[in-house]
């Protein structure tokens, strides 16, 4: 039971960190807003004020629409794989099996691999059309190899990113599963419920909160995937997302103004996505 006094002391103690965090966020945001209204490039020494010109230039870029689409597809694709796959793997790991600890460790391992390294391994060892593992396997069964990164660039990147995020989702969902009381399940079994009914009416509702947490946290990170794209396809219309497009505008074109405008657009897009997600799935967090 917090008294008014302890509450005000707590507020006082939190103030410095809140102020620092606020400055930490507001200064870059303000500067980005300011730069986005200037004609500011590496190669022109003058930086005249141009109002919204950078925004219109960025939004009318033929690469913008595809990047916007790719951003959403990437988030959605990875979420689908990690949630569905995560639930299935968590159910498996929840069983009593021999060597349980080892199996769990192996499943979680990809989470500790750096994104760049993971992407390189997938690119060269797994997806290479000539000597990649997947290609060799498909050749062995007579389907013929696929040049993954050339012909299915976004799909390949979704697979790579999903592989990295699957352990995170499994961890959270497994924790939720383990807190499910056995009594409920037993009672349902006594009443003659089958395995599927138990899953859909007891297990899944119990995991709802955990699933929500996984979706929210992953979305934040998935909106800003960069390394996997840079290492595998190096961009292009078929696989650039917004962060990658903005970074290439800076690094290749040296156009700080347009890139800043793009950054603001990306912030707005991220906020809309987060807002929608919280409206749709965030309800589960209440009550």
């Amino acid at each position: 039971m917090a008294t008014t006094q302890t509450k005000s002391v707590a507020r006082l103690m939190m103030t410095p960190s809140v102020i620092v965090l606020f400055i930490w966020m507001i200064v870059p945001l303000f500067l980005t807003l300011y730069f986005s209204t200037l004609r500011y490039g590496f190669y022109n020494p003058e930086t005249p004020f141009v109002g919204f010109e950078n925004y219109t230039y960025f939004l009318t870029d033929p690469r913008f629409l595809s990047a916007f689409q790719n951003t959403l597809l990437l988030v959605f694709g990875v979420l689908c794989i990690t949630i569905i796959g995560g639930i299935l793997i968590a159910l498996l790991l929840d069983q009593e099996v021999f060597g349980q600890t080892i199996v769990r460790l192996l499943v979680i391992a990809p989470f500790f691999v750096m994104p760049t390294v993971a992407a390189l391994v997938w690119k060269n060892m797994m997806m290479n059309p000539v000597y990649g593992v997947i290609g060799q396997m498909l050749n062995a069964v007579g389907i013929g190899s696929v040049d993954w990164l050339t012909n299915l660039p976004l799909t390949s990147i979704i697979i790579i990113v999903a592989w990295q995020w699957l352990p995170f989702s499994v961890l959270i969902l497994l924790t939720a599963l383990q807190s499910l009381s056995q009594d409920q399940k037993e009672a349902a079994e006594m009443d003659g419920a089958g395995a599927l009914s138990i899953f859909f009416y007891i297990t899944l509702p119990h995991m709802k909160r955990a699933i929500t947490v996984v979706i929210l946290i992953q979305t934040i990170f998935l909106l800003s995937v960069y390394a996997e794209i840079a290492v595998t396809t190096g961009g292009g219309e078929a696989s650039s997302n917004l962060p990658f497009l903005i970074a290439s505008i800076i690094s290749l074109e040296g156009d700080v103004g347009t890139a800043s405008a793009g950054g603001i657009v990306a912030v707005i897009v991220a906020n809309i996505v987060a807002f929608l997600l919280i409206r749709v799935v965030g309800k589960n967090l209440e009550g």
Binding site: G41, F42, Y43, Y57, D61, P62, R63, N128, P129, V130, S145, D147, L149, T150, N151, G234, G235, G236, E237, A238, S248, I249, I250, S251, L252, E253, G254, D255
Partner: protein
């Protein structure tokens, strides 16, 4: 007593530290530069007061780092490795220091004129060439003979297409032709810009209007996609210079048109399985009297000093050492003449030892001498396989991605060129080139 010893050594250390200059050198992870890094001790033995701190990165990453650094006056680097694309642009921005302290024995007049001009602005040298290249057709003599053909002195694209068809044997894993497909202005566009010129097309016409929908570009890209699809290795759209180098070295390519610097690697028994089977010819032509007789490529990796560096003198001392005649001799004594950085000095090509050790020397020099990147009639920019304007990096890369999409079959050649044209017109209009 101990304290005294400590104090003395501290003092000594301080004195040394004061006298020492540390140069930070940004360079590319190509084998010639890595060799230079390995010879650091030879430099510091001659210049004990200068320490070298190397930052060696992959080409694209290095470009981004040095461009950002020099544009924002970050001052991270004292010596930068840049190419013939950057020099004209950066010297105009006054980002580079003129190289006027290279020493009396540097002999700038010995630099090959085409290269020296490409690295000079208004007659002043702004970067010193470390190695230089034009384009060559590398081909397998044994496979061509087996196909019953002989390489003409001036090959045409028609001949190359015929040869590619006859040399291809997918059963034994030999592909008639290997070309760059990896998107990037310095990767597939370097090759395609060169190929389009051999069909008489440039990036921009005299009014800066992009030319991607011209006859020359259409012919070049159509043939390029056709050849690689039928006679190229699988996954060609992901192959850059290095990937093709290893394919050719493994004996998987019949022909390969690329930078002349590749010649020393594919003839080196340590790096190639077909060192004695390689022939050299000029770059192919697509039309009668094609520009520069097919040598539409000129590039020199060069060393330059940012104007903002506070260590100008030490930096020029290093550059003078790394691009001197003595450096070529040093590499020759350690690695053999065939492995010295090519293409920069006339004296190297007059050296009988080099000409004997490097079967590609004559072809390389001829190609470099033919390549003329200067502004000409109907070509308002400096450059052959690139256009030396700041917009070209972003534009070239975007166009390169369209070309890679056409090569992988996810779009047609016409659609890719139309998209490239639209993107180019948009960029050049914003840049103020097109009124």
């Amino acid at each position: 007593m101990k304290t005294l010893g400590c104090a003395a050594s501290l003092l000594a250390f301080a004195a040394v530290a004061q006298a020492e200059t540390t140069l930070t050198i940004g360079t590319v992870n190509n084998s010639d530069m890595i060799r230079m890094q390995g010879l650091t001790d030879a430099f510091t033995a001659a210049h004990p007061d200068i320490k070298l701190n190397w930052v060696t990165l992959e080409e694209n990453i290095l470009r981004q780092r040095v461009t950002t650094d020099i544009a924002t006056k970050g001052g991270q680097f004292d010596v930068m490795t840049i190419g013939t694309y950057e020099v004209p642009i950066w010297s105009k921005q006054q980002w580079l220091a003129p190289l006027d302290k290279l020493g009396a024995d540097y002999d700038a007049d010995d630099l090959i004129p085409a290269i020296r001009n490409a690295l000079s602005t208004d007659g002043t040298l702004y970067a010193a060439p470390f190695y230089a290249e034009s384009t060559l057709t590398l081909y397998r003599k044994d496979l061509l003979e087996a196909a019953g053909l002989t390489m003409p002195e001036k090959p045409t694209w028609d001949f190359i297409a015929e040869a590619a068809e006859k040399m291809t044997n997918k059963e034994t894993g030999v592909y008639g032709i290997c070309l760059r497909g990896k998107p990037g202005w310095g990767e597939n566009m370097a090759f395609l810009g060169n190929m389009a010129r051999s069909f008489g097309a440039n990036y921009f016409d005299a009014d800066w209007k992009p030319q991607f929908e011209s006859e020359g570009w259409k012919k070049a890209v159509t043939l390029y996609v056709d050849l690689l699809t039928k006679y190229g290795p699988p996954g060609a759209a992901a192959n850059g210079f290095n990937e093709n180098l290893s394919l050719f070295g493994q004996g998987k390519c019949g022909m390969w048109m690329d930078a002349s610097v590749a010649a020393s690697f594919v003839t080196d028994p340590k790096q190639s399985q077909v060192p004695d089977k390689v022939g050299f010819a000029p770059g192919p032509c697509g039309i009668e009297n094609c520009p520069n007789e097919g040598a539409n490529w000129l590039w020199a990796w060069s060393l330059a000093v940012p104007a903002s560096s506070g260590k100008q003198e030490a930096a020029q001392t290093f550059i003078s050492w790394a691009t001197s005649k003595a450096y070529l001799e040093l590499v020759a004594s350690k690695e053999g003449w065939a492995n010295v950085p090519p293409g920069t000095r006339t004296s190297l090509y007059e050296n009988p030892e080099y000409v004997k050790a490097a079967p590609f020397a004559e072809a390389t020099l001829a190609a470099i001498n033919k390549a003329d990147p200067s502004i000409g009639e109907g070509k308002p920019y400096v450059g052959l396989q690139f256009a030396a304007v700041p917009e070209f990096q972003g534009l070239g890369t975007a166009v390169g991605q369209q070309m890679a999409a056409a090569l992988s079959g996810s779009t047609t050649v016409e659609a890719a060129l139309a998209a490239a044209q639209a993107q180019a017109v948009r960029e050049m209009t914003r840049g103020g080139y097109i009124k």
